[in-house]
Amino acid sequence: MKFKLLIVLLLTIISFSNAQSKQELEAKDFFWGANDAYKNANEIPDKWKGESAVIIYKNINYDYHKFAKKVKYKSSIRKRILLLDKNAVKEFSEFSFTKRFRSTRGKFSWRTRGKVFFAIKIIKPDGTEIEVNVDKEAVKSKSDYKVAISNLEVGDIIDYYYYLYEPFTSKYEYTFAAVEQTLSEEYPIMDFKLYLESENDFFINFKSLNGAPELKEIPTDKRNFRKYELNVSDIEKKDFPMWFYPLLETPSVKFQVYFARSGKFEDRTVAFLSKQEKDIKTSVSKEEVLELYKKRFRTYGNVGDIKSFLKGKTFSSNEAKVKTAYYYMRHYYLTRFMEAFYVDDANILAFPFTVYGYPVFIRNQKQFIKHFTEFLKRNKIPYEIVVGTYRYNGTIQDLLIENNVEVLVKVKTKNPLYAQFFSPHTNINQFASLLHGTDVYLLSSDNRGNITGINNGTLPNSDYKKNVSLKQVDLDISEDFTTFTVISNNKIKGYNKISEQYDRLLFTDYVYEDYAKYQTKSFTESIRKKKVRLKTTKELNALISKLKKDQIKEFETDVANEFDVSDIENYEYKLVATGRYGLDTNLEYNESFTFKNQFIKKAGPNYIIEIGKFIGGQIEMVDEQRERNVNIYMRYPRTFNYEINLKIPNGYKVAGLDKLNKNVTNTTGAFISTAKVENGFLKIQTSKQYKHNYEPKENWNLILAFLDEANQFKNEKILLKKI
């Protein structure tokens, strides 16, 4: 009996391993079989002989097949690369890969597992092919396998593929991750081919951008089976400069595939689907946007808490009412939970959110829109829902992938207000800078909260005069001319302050501000059991104390980096204002510190002061960056102002003021500086302005002009001359 069982078991194992190798052989045949047109492709054009490596052939394949609920998803990539230097040999000398994995797609299953077939061969300059025995040579690492490639030398071609086979079951609709990529990569590519295979129930959105060739359908024998290809040759390596959005100008492709078994699931898919699977969707019309969102953005939510808060309050306008409600929601739905987040993260108390009972917690952009518009509807305040996309994706007319949609609310008050899903410091009228000045769709509603229409619109752009950082720096030099004492006051407003708020504010800085403003119970006050409350309070206070100490250490390092000085001493920091109630309000803080033997150079009886260094680091454009043939994309227009007041040591006078007076102003921006001596102080004012968030490449020299001037100012010195 036992013997029989063993035989059965052995047979099972043998048939299983045979099945495995069959799939593996299929993968091999697919890439390296008799039909491999690139088997003998070993030559590269002369123009690329000075490169590190050249990709002779790159092939990417996505296959989507199904049987009822069972999806068979395969994706694979092959690259055949000529290695031209040691750097490339090192780059391709080690690979890591997963052999088997549990798919995270669709319904979870213990039984179904994905597989990866990975194979490599080396083609020597004399044409000899050596296939690496991956199974034998791979070693198990943390969670994957690693293989060191044998016998790899400069001049070799490495030809490898990853073939991922991922079956899964999806009872409902399923959306595959979007692919948005430029055709170019680190090394130049001679030939690139992309293939897509799909059956009915798979919907494909695909778009070629910026001169990338179109996807072509390859005829097949079967009615419900489709195959597409994209062929490109001669792709230079990518070389993206700063301030550039590659998907807007570099040949690229975007696509996404959706699985929807029936009309019901097609309706449920949050995506812009084509009418029929056989049609590749290449664009999304305004009407389709309306169609998709009219049900999904119907007002919804329990706004009773806001109603209670507003009860009894009077407002001069709807504008004032909306602002008040927005900030209250930011607190009531978010910042009042912040302490619990920290308590949870630090393991101070198990299940801390139970303290709040069953609160409303807004988790995403769409939920926010529904909730906020519910409030507007109930208060009879007209609004529109803004549907836009970030600038780096292209315009709203180029929309293809639903995930690229950003939504916010435009409140149609006298001066329109914009409201986006809040994070702890988001102000009313603040929305992602990547949407500034973009064309959008505006979804209008009837007074019951149903979306009824769609119009074109444009979001306002931001102004460099409103996004301002001002640093006032008082400088004092010690009597022995070794030490600078620096006292600075920093005021930051508009979009300049957004990232700074996250750096500068500890949760205690704004949570307690909100508690006081709204008379809310703190997290610890909300804990019913006294003992638990006391313990939690004690441990939370200890955490806060530690975070504050860590924060000061970070600020000290930041300020040293900002001025590029080492050994900061006597560092002190004080937060003056959080700037959380209005985009135009300042985040304000003071810092003071000293540092020694930097920016002062002895020159006989005199001293040279590197005064320009006090405007902090400036962008230095090296030769390679000065030539530019692509347009310039920045986040938002902005201004950086400095006011430097240097106390002139007794017995000295200042020479070299002329070099501190600069003015390069043009349509793209400016660097302006003025300097004067007044009441024993050298007073310098500088202003660096980036006027727009976009400039055509023709204006690059204008940008360089003010950047260079600012950089030159950083290099300027004054002489403290002994009288």
């Binding site: 040691k86 060191a148 033997n597 006989g604 290099n715």
Partner: protein, 643 residues
């Protein structure tokens, strides 16, 4: 039914009561907080936690099956938080020769704290694959004075892999006890290393019952290991007990372990004797590399450089592979290997070419011991030796671009265990004088408006040259020119480099020469009738200040710099005053900065020589004084006054 409800309620109340009591018992008491405050004052301000008591207990057993002496290593540590809050990771490593049998954390009240123990493969950037694993626990200390006890138990299958015990830890220790119970059938020497300066108390207790002796070492208030870079290896600086397992006697039969160097050699040799050394596959390559070469040195060079250039360093440390070299033909075929594989391939290729080549075991400079200590912790590297005409030349193919006959600093002066049949030879790798690594820099400038305009010539010797050649050879073809420019202008846009000319960047035997033209903006400031010139854009050693440092500073190699900058004074200008010279000479360094004027040329000369690649703590006062003066010079301007 009622009874049930009552029972459930009672259990609930009891659990809640016990929980409250337990909670109270684990919270820090006033005494705990006071203890934390005192320890914080005693130790470094950056220490987050301290170990109030650490007991390390080592015992030995005999495994009849494997005929090996096994080790049980237990560590119990009481931890206390010194800050408001601390989040730490407690971790222990193990490998194919050891097992962690117990790793738990307990609260102050002795109840187990059920922290998750994570067990994963240990990855190290330098090692492609190794059999080391790590078990770790993330522990949070929510309050100052909060205490835990960590219990760790490990079993090691073979005593030869258990080589030392350190007294110090990542955290400071108020009281440490190490007990090593040695059965009388086992002969072990406990060698005390770096005990000087530490009040380590010792006693030996005879255990009649278990026929053993327990060696007890105790120390109080010992600081944490220093968190500094560029330090000597830990075996130089931290007190530890080196465990030299000599022999064991069982059933009247004495088995030698590592009683003397010969035993260590024998074990190493037993591993290399397992190699097949079938060199069939490498013969053609050896012929190709040597066939048209008459000179023996050139033949050796051709082989040595071929291995350097064509075998990538990839290390597998899995079990015995950590000690046994790979077959030469495997390394040759795979084109990769670790130091042992490369040494063996070099040896076999040289043998094929008719030379006498040997394997060499060696400890790099990170290791304090020499072969008078027979232990696996003596060495960490393998190279090859060519024995020719009574002369031994060492070949280390892991040192890319290392010329034949030159030795990397990391092995200079180190004792080498050279194979010699059944016997071995001990030789020391020659030390090279600092001038071997000389770096010569010449700048010649004139003033043009407010720019310094001129040219530069650089000459690199020894390891300075080797490092440069290696780095440039690993740079992408299309980025080489850009990288070279960035290297020469220190990535400073005020320095414009042009017309770069270099000697052959593939030639590792000659010194490296680079010349180029240079224009420096913003180096000159004119105020009224005076011109202020900043002459130094290299500012070597400027940041080497050891004010806060606790340990010797170790350079990667000996450094020697001769830098001369000549500035032609413009017509109608005279020099106001030159900065003061510096001249310092000591055991470890010679440092000088000199200014002079001849006719209308100012000459600014720096000569820095770090003779032993180290600045010792005893040098720090003098060194820091030099550094202050040097920075003062770097900060000073040459003043030219209009006549």
């Amino acid at each position: 039914m009622k009874t049930n409800k009552l029972l459930i309620f009672s259990i609930f109340c009891l659990v809640f009561f016990l929980h409250s009591v337990a909670q109270k018992r684990i919270e820090p008491s006033i005494e705990d907080i006071e203890q934390a405050t005192n320890l914080k004052e005693k130790f470094d301000k950056d220490d987050a936690i301290a170990i109030t008591r650490s007991n390390e207990f080592v015992t030995f057993n005999f495994n009849k099956k494997s005929n090996k002496v096994t080790v049980n290593h237990n560590v119990t540590e009481d931890l206390i938080n010194l800050d408001d809050r601390a989040d730490i990771q407690k971790y222990y490593f193990y490998d194919g020769e050891s097992r962690i049998t117990d790793f738990d954390i307990f609260y102050k009240n002795k109840k187990k704290a059920y922290f998750l123990v994570i067990d994963e493969a240990y990855t190290n950037q330098g090692l492609f694959h190794n059999d080391s694993r790590v078990k770790y626990i993330n522990i949070d200390f929510p309050l100052k004075g909060y205490k835990y006890t960590s219990v760790f138990k490990e079993e090691i299958d073979d005593i030869k892999y258990f080589t030392k015990i350190y007294f110090q830890d990542e955290y400071p220790i108020a009281y440490k006890k190490i007990e090593i119970e040695i059965p009388n059938w086992l002969e072990i020497e406990l060698k005390e290393i770096n005990f000087d300066g530490y009040d380590i108390k010792k006693e030996v207790v005879v255990n009649k019952k278990s026929d053993s002796k327990t060696h007890i070492f105790t120390v109080t208030n010992i600081s944490a290991k220093y968190n500094e870079t560029s330090t000597p290896g830990p075996t130089y600086i931290y007190p530890h007990i080196l465990i030299l397992s000599k022999s064991f006697t069982k059933n009247g039969q004495k088995t030698l372990l590592f009683n003397e160097t010969k035993d260590l050699y024998n074990w190493y040799k037993s591993l290399t004797n397992q190699l097949k050394n079938d060199n069939e596959l490498i013969k053609d390559k050896v012929t190709e590399l040597t066939k048209d070469v008459q000179n023996d040195d050139e033949k050796v060079k051709n082989i040595y450089y071929w291995v350097q250039d064509n075998i990538r360093y990839i290390a597998f440390e899995d079990g015995i592979a950590g000690f046994k070299p790979d077959e030469a033909t495997n390394v040759f075929t795979k084109k990769y290997g670790d130091c042992k594989g490369m040494a063996n391939l070099t040896k076999q290729m040289l043998l094929e070419a008719g030379f006498d080549a040997r394997l060499v075991w060696i400890g790099t400079k990170r290791i304090a011991y020499d072969y008078s200590t027979p232990s696996l912790s003596v060495d960490n590297h393998m190279i090859c030796a060519l024995v020719k005409d009574g002369k031994t030349t060492f070949l280390d193919a892991t040192e890319k671009f290392n010329p034949f006959g030159e030795y990397a600093h990391r092995i200079q002066g180190k004792q080498a265990l050279i194979e010699n049949g059944d016997d071995f030879i001990l030789k020391t790798v020659p030390n090279k004088n600092v001038s071997f690594n000389n770096e010569i820099i010449n700048y010649n400038f004139t003033l043009e408006n407010e720019d310094l305009v001129g040219n530069s010539r650089k000459e690199y010797h020894g390891e300075r040259r080797t490092d440069f050649l290696y780095n440039i050879s690993n740079t992408k073809n299309d980025k080489k020119e850009e990288s070279l420019k960035k290297y020469l202008n220190h990535d400073n846009i005020n320095l414009k480099v042009s017309n770069i000319d270099t000697s052959d960047l593939d030639n590792r035997d000659a010194s490296l020469k680079i010349s180029y033209d240079l224009t420096i903006k913003n180096a000159v400031s004119s105020f009224d009738n005076e011109i202020y010139v900043n002459l130094d854009f290299d500012k070597e050693l400027a940041s080497y200040n050891f004010k806060e440092r606790k340990l010797d500073f170790v350079f990667s190699s000996k450094k020697m710099l001769e830098s001369t900058t000549n500035l032609t004074i413009p017509n109608n200008y005279k020099i106001s005053k030159l900065p003061e010279d510096i001249l310092i000479t000591s055991k470890n360094y010679d440092l000088s900065v000199r200014f002079s004027q001849q006719a209308n040329i100012i000459s600014y000369k720096k000569e820095f020589s770090i003779k032993n690649a180290v600045i010792e703590t005893s040098d720090f006062e003098e060194w820091n004084d030099f550094n202050t003066k040097l920075n003062k010079i770097y900060n000073e301007q040459i003043i030219l006054i209009k006549q």
